[in-house]
Symmetry: C2
Subunit: 124 residues, 2 copies
Amino acid sequence: MNYSKQRERVLNALAEKRNHPTADELYAYLKAQQCSMSPATVYRNLHQLADNGVVMRLSVPGGAERYDPVNDGHLHMICSECGGISDIPANAICDVVSQARKATGYNVNSCSIMFYGVCKDCES
Amino acid sequence: MNYSKQRERVLNALAEKRNHPTADELYAYLKAQQCSMSPATVYRNLHQLADNGVVMRLSVPGGAERYDPVNDGHLHMICSECGGISDIPANAICDVVSQARKATGYNVNSCSIMFYGVCKDCES
DNA sequence: CAAAAAAATGATATCAATTATCGTTTTTTT
DNA sequence: AAAAAAACGATAATTGATATCATTTTTTTG
């Protein structure tokens, strides 16, 4: 994967913003910083960066997709009220729910775990 | 929560289809079964059923939201090629990734875990 | 039971996030 | 330097989902 000027800027902007921003939020942020570029370019680059495992894509129910500059398999906690997302250290693998509560102080009420891989039918 | 005729039909249709369908797919399915109703009604009912914990809502990256008729906290595995979703028994809490591989035969390459709860700021 | 209140529906307009298109520009390869 | 490949920008189009609102159904209650 090449690193164009725009791709660098998208990646930098994502690293600067610590809010797990949406593509649209990043687009606005770049625009405000005189790094204006086409919305399509922001979407395209985030997509590619995620496909190549550089960044992490977060699917939030009822909202736009969000991005995390760090792709180290760490966990996320989302507030049902404000939509804010907090990070949880990756070592909380066992007893996940109570670990998540400890790590963030949230009152956990549900949890969604999704794995991604290639199924038998598609493996060929 | 009341159970209107339409809500019953949506729930039945969801239970019949074992594919974790999207709202739109359910709408088409109902239409084909002479149980035609407004798309808005299908969306509304799925939303309410999920909010009340009767069904489970699955956010899939880059796709429409999907629904699972069973809300028992079990895990899901999605194929990066065809988008198909398989179920994983809920007892695979520790060593989640290798358990997921065993349960489904998929070659797991990533995993997203999201918790939902109310943060300190919104707790009042 | 009948009237009033509440909830749900249907049809459709609208919104918002994302992708597609395509001609142009930039970057990489040879 | 020429050719090929990749990326960009602007904008149109798509699509999943929600909002609106008049009508219908269901529930409550006097």
